[in-house]
């Protein structure tokens, strides 16, 4: 019985892990952070599936093996009150798993939130009901826009602020998110690694237009980026000058 | 199967006119336990406002005190008033346990009047502070905590009023004493809480 149960759990876990890893969970990997988060996710799956499978297998097996059959209506099960050995085991094993995962997560957190190097490009992100606007300094002068442009493979720090209510600056492809909180500046840094356009989403309920508070980040090769920014700087200067 | 073989009593014929007396499974009396648990809840309510105080004064470093200094002397006087009302409350309790009707009456009236004096001074202080809750977050915290305490003084006074009515109707004595004991415990809590509020708001 024990051997076949163990076999069922191993096989079912393997199948479960296989299916769960085959699902394409995440959007495109757009930053240096993304592969790390995705790997972490895979680790979590590999750890979680066997736990779920074990619980459900033991339960279904019990139901199948010991369900009340006709004629057993008056019977009771054996008066097993517990087993200290078992209880110690199922306290210690989860403790080890939890400790390991937490350590991994803490190291990963410190890694993805490491302080940016001096001179990293800073983009000021301002959340307002219900739009984002972005300010950055370029060689061609300051740029203000509602769309975000970034050069590929160059680290960037976002300083995020809000003047009205709380928003959250989330780029799913970058796997990073932080709230825009009135009164304080929050920030995160990362390096875009993939050329293309990605969604910017407001993830914190901010009122009527929250669902529509979406924008786009366009990651460009450095040369293209320079050209686009020069154009935008010109436009920003024109707007600023006409004031 | 045998395990559950105790027969249930048949449907009740109505020969009972009341419930059976419950088994007393703890030495603590239920009313006293009730008010103590309620006080735990109240402490947590104050705790939340102290959390606000902590965030705004310490984390956010909004200037403290709000306005140009708080009237510490007035608040200290008020602390003395409330503390003495605790003493008179205790005296009322003791009188009740001894069946001293005159002592009870004088005690509860004195306690009540001291409580009213506290409230009067507090409201008067509000009017002469020179700032309002709208002035700043620190001011909001000041009014939030002292106002919350003031509201508790009012509740305490209401309870004392009830006890007073019952005392003057001769319903309280050594045998019938919980109606005084429970408001008394609450009143001591209100007094003690003022010491905490006073210390954090005015002294620190």
């Amino acid at each position: 019985m024990w051997v076949s149960l163990a076999a069922i759990i191993v096989v079912a876990s393997a199948i479960g892990i296989g299916i769960m890893l085959a699902i394409s969970w995440f959007p495109a990997q757009g930053s240096n952070v993304a592969p790390k988060i995705d790997t972490f996710w895979n680790v979590l799956i590999v750890v979680s599936v066997p736990i779920f499978v074990s619980v459900v297998t033991m339960m279904l097996f019990s139901i199948w093996r010991w369900r009340q059959r006709p004629g057993e209506e008056g019977l009771d099960g054996p008066p097993i009150h517990g087993s200290t050995k078992l209880e110690v085991i199922w306290t210690i094993i989860p403790t080890i798993i939890i400790a390991a995962l937490s350590t991994y997560a803490a190291i990963l957190l410190l890694d993805i939130q490491a302080a940016p190097a001096k001179g990293t490009r800073v983009v000021n992100v301002n959340g307002i009901q219900f739009a984002w606007n972005f300010e950055t300094k370029t060689d061609a002068g300051p740029v203000k826009s509602n769309l975000l442009y970034l050069p590929v493979n160059e680290p960037v720090t976002f300083d995020i602020r809000s003047k009205d209510v709380i928003h959250a600056f989330w780029v799913p492809a970058f796997r990073m998110q932080v709230d825009a909180v009135p009164g304080i500046t929050t920030s995160y840094s990362l390096t875009p690694t993939k050329v293309g356009s990605f969604d910017i989403v407001c993830a914190e309920l901010c009122g009527l237009g929250h669902a529509y508070m979406r924008s786009t980040v366009t990651v460009l090769p450095p040369a293209r980026y320079k050209a686009v920014m020069a154009g935008l700087a010109h436009a920003s200067a024109a707007v600023g000058g006409s004031k | 199967m045998e395990a559950a073989a105790i027969p249930a009593p048949a449907a009740q014929d109505d020969h009972h006119h009341g419930p059976p007396v419950a088994n007393q499974s703890s030495r603590v009396n239920s009313e006293v336990l009730g008010i103590l648990l309620f006080i735990i809840s109240e402490i947590m309510l104050f705790g939340a406002f102290f959390a606000a105080y902590f965030f705004i004064r310490v984390v956010n470093a909004d200037g403290w005190p709000p306005g140009a200094g708080l009237p510490v002397a007035v608040a200290a006087t008020n602390a003395a008033i409330l503390l003495s009302s605790s003493v008179t409350m205790h005296w009322t309790d003791v009188s009740a346990k001894r069946g001293n009707q005159a002592g009870m009456r004088i005690g509860i009236v004195t306690t009540f009047l001291l409580g009213c004096t506290f409230l009067f001074i507090q409201i008067n202080e509000y009017l002469h502070l020179g700032f309002t809750p709208k002035t700043s977050a620190s001011a909001s915290v000041f009014f939030g905590l002292t106002g919350l305490h003031g509201a508790h003084v009012i509740i305490g006074l209401l309870l004392l009023w009830m006890s007073a009515v019952r005392i003057f109707k001769g319903k309280v004595g050594p045998a019938n004493y919980k109606g005084l004991e429970v408001p008394g415990i609450y009143w001591h809590f209100v007094d003690a809480m003022w010491i905490v509020v006073f210390t954090t708001i005015y002294v620190l």
Partner: protein, 630 residues
């Protein structure tokens, strides 16, 4: 008529309500005049004062305070138990001090709000069936999901557990009633008031409250007046749950039958003991958070106004210091129910009884140390986030102990897979999934990505629907014969389970995926790429919603004309099953005496309690039967 108005009841409640509104108008205009404010009549001010005070007038009218006021004024009070028990259905609409009547009142009212809240979920899913706008404008949409969550949390899951425990807990510990029957009645009557207030918010100018059930400042401070309905209704719901919790604690501590030591208490009693501790300690924090919002809104305080030096994150700290424990307030009583159902239907003692009790207490303790895991993307430094991640993950250990012990309880039992048991085992599977996604969410790096996405929506529904609601169904089916004296329709119960189980998973499992893929929560519109999944989810959710009608029909029809239930249809050992179904008006003739553990199934001749005629000589089980382990 005049005599009707003088008597406690609905006529007087109506008269008092009108009087209350008049008083509030007078108070508001009087105060404004005194402070020289213009205009003297301010509708918003009147509305807010009325929301605070009129419910109290109503409670006075319906008769919640009569006894106390008479007592306080020194008049003679007679406790003739005239308001005990229910002789007709009309008695359920009166102030009643019988814990069994109050239990039923609680359960019916909270299920009413479950259906209302569920209907709102259906509207939400209809809107989300396709991208773009279908039926409702964004403001109504935000209102719908906010009221949905608020109703189901404050008016369903929390009170329905209080209702079930109200009914069975005094019976289980061999008490004739709760410790404070009149406080019990008051806590019940505050509840429908809070619920009605939340629903009325839809009529407020500017629409209902729409800042989510979390009502984050400063959004909730700037929101239209509908938000005040939330702010104030939560005070009443909170006061109700504090009063009930206090009542449970005092009842459990002081009114246990002789012989009912703490380690002979059924685990449902343990669960409610733990829950009540959480409620008494944590609930004042949500009261405070909403008081502060109200003060900011109504009187211009600056608690959450950064321009005035206020602290926006402070709201979240205070709010979650309650609202994280609240998830255990919504789960621990369910743990208790599952232990009762499993032991009885598996005919085996609960595995590791003592650890089950201790893990409840461990969860209570740890529950207070993890609140900031809801704020991992709020801009907190790592030195707060990492410890909070660790404590959150640690809660998985006592929770795991419970799950493993339940499975071990099934092992080698004689499992009767009837409706309550299906719900209980279904719960174990679903809650394990919810627990696993909970541990994933505790991991900060992953949480950063999935915060405020549909992954959260999936997680919370696996915990609160697959978790709490499954246990509620298990409990309702399990104690239905005791409460009504009739049996429910077993076949319908099973169909109800399987429909719910299948469509619950089809509704909520895909939400994990679309959340990770990038769909934020609380949106009425979404990117095109999520359209297919949302359509599937919406269709499943409609069937899920319809399946609950089966439950409703089963309950109503069986209550009216189901076959009569015996006193102990499940052959349970605990005390509530040793009295008639429904129990006698005062529960017991004489207080039972407890002689053994509550789950001694399989021990020959084991007895938990001697109920009824103590003269009948029953042999208690050996001393070994009371030990935790054998």
């Amino acid at each position: 008529m005049a005599s009707k108005i003088r008597q406690a009841g609905w006529y007087r409640a109506l008269a008092f309500t009108i009087l209350g509104i008049a008083v509030c108008i007078g108070l508001s205009t009087g105060l404004r005049a005194a402070f020289g404010l213009n205009p003297v009549y301010d509708g918003t001010a009147v509305l807010q004062i009325s929301l605070l005070m009129v419910p109290i007038f109503f409670l006075g009218g319906i008769g919640c305070f009569d006894y106390w006021l008479r007592w306080a004024s020194g008049r003679k009070v007679v406790d003739d138990h005239a308001d005990h028990g229910a002789k007709s259905w009309k008695d359920y609409f009166k102030v009643n001090t019988d814990h069994k009547v109050i239990g039923i009142q609680y359960i019916c009212v909270s299920f009413f709000f479950m259906f209302v809240g569920g209907l709102m979920a259906m509207l939400v899913r209809a809107e989300l069936a396709a991208p773009g706008r279908q039926f409702v404008d964004p403001n109504t949409y935000n209102g719908l999901f906010s009221v949905h969550a608020t109703l189901l949390i404050f008016l369903f899951v929390i009170p329905v557990f209080a209702g079930i425990a109200n009914y069975v807990l005094p019976l289980m510990i061999g008490a004739p009633d709760m410790a404070f029957p009149r406080l019990n009645a008051l806590s019940f009557w505050m509840l429908p008031l809070a619920g009605v207030m939340m629903l009325l918010s839809f009529l407020a100018p500017g629409g209902s409250f729409a800042a989510g059930w979390t009502a984050y400042a400063p959004l909730s401070v700037d929101a239209p007046i509908g938000q005040a309905f939330f702010t104030i209704a939560v005070q009443f719901a909170g006061a109700s749950s504090i009063a009930t919790a206090l009542n449970f604690l005092v009842t459990i501590i002081t009114m246990r039958a002789p012989g009912m030591t703490f380690f002979r208490m059924p685990l449902l009693v343990w669960a409610n003991f733990s829950t009540s501790l959480l409620v008494v300690i944590a609930t004042p924090f949500i009261a405070a958070s909403q008081f502060m919002v109200l003060l900011d809104r109504a009187l211009g305080f600056n608690f959450f106004n950064p321009a005035g030096g206020g602290d926006v994150l402070m709201y979240q700290h205070v709010f979650w210091f309650y609202s994280h424990p609240a998830v255990y307030i919504m789960m621990l009583p369910g743990f208790g129910i599952i232990s009762e159902v499993l032991a009885t239907r598996a005919r085996k003692p609960v595995f590791g009884y003592r650890m089950m009790a201790f893990s409840l207490l461990a969860i209570v303790l740890l529950g207070f140390t993890v609140w900031a895991h809801h704020m991992f993307v709020s801009g907190m430094p790592n030195w707060v986030r990492i410890p909070m991640m660790a404590t959150t993950a640690i809660i998985a250990i006592p929770t795991g102990i419970k799950i493993f012990s339940w499975v071990a309880t099934l092992w080698r039992g004689v499992l009767k897979m009837d409706t309550p048991m299906l719900w209980a085992t279904g719960f174990i599977a679903m809650f394990t999934l919810g627990g696993i996604s909970g541990v994933m969410l505790a991991m900060v790096p992953l949480d950063i990505h999935v915060s405020d996405t549909y992954f959260i929506v999936a997680h919370i529904h696996y915990v609160l629907f697959g978790g709490s609601l499954f246990t509620i169904f298990a409990g309702i089916y399990f104690w239905f014969p005791k409460m009504t004296g009739r049996m429910f329709n077993e076949k319908l119960g099973k169909i109800h389970f399987w429909l719910t189980f299948v469509f619950f998973n089809l509704t909520f499992a895909p939400m994990h995926l679309i959340g990770v893929q990038g769909m934020p929560r609380r949106v009425s519109d979404y990117a095109e790429q999520f359209a297919t999944w949302n359509m599937i989810i919406s269709i499943s959710s409609f069937i899920l919603g319809l399946s609950s009608l089966l439950f409703l029909y089963n309950m109503v029809a069986s209550w009216r004309s189901g076959p009569k239930a015996s006193s102990n249809p499940w052959n349970s050992l605990t005390i509530e099953w040793q009295v008639s179904s429904p129990p006698p008006i005062f529960n017991f003739d004489t207080i039972p005496s407890v002689v053994g553990g509550p789950y001694e199934y399989g021990v020959p001749g084991a007895v938990h309690a001697i109920v009824g005629d103590p003269a009948k000589d029953l042999v208690p089980a050996g001393a070994g039967a009371t030990e935790g382990h054998s």
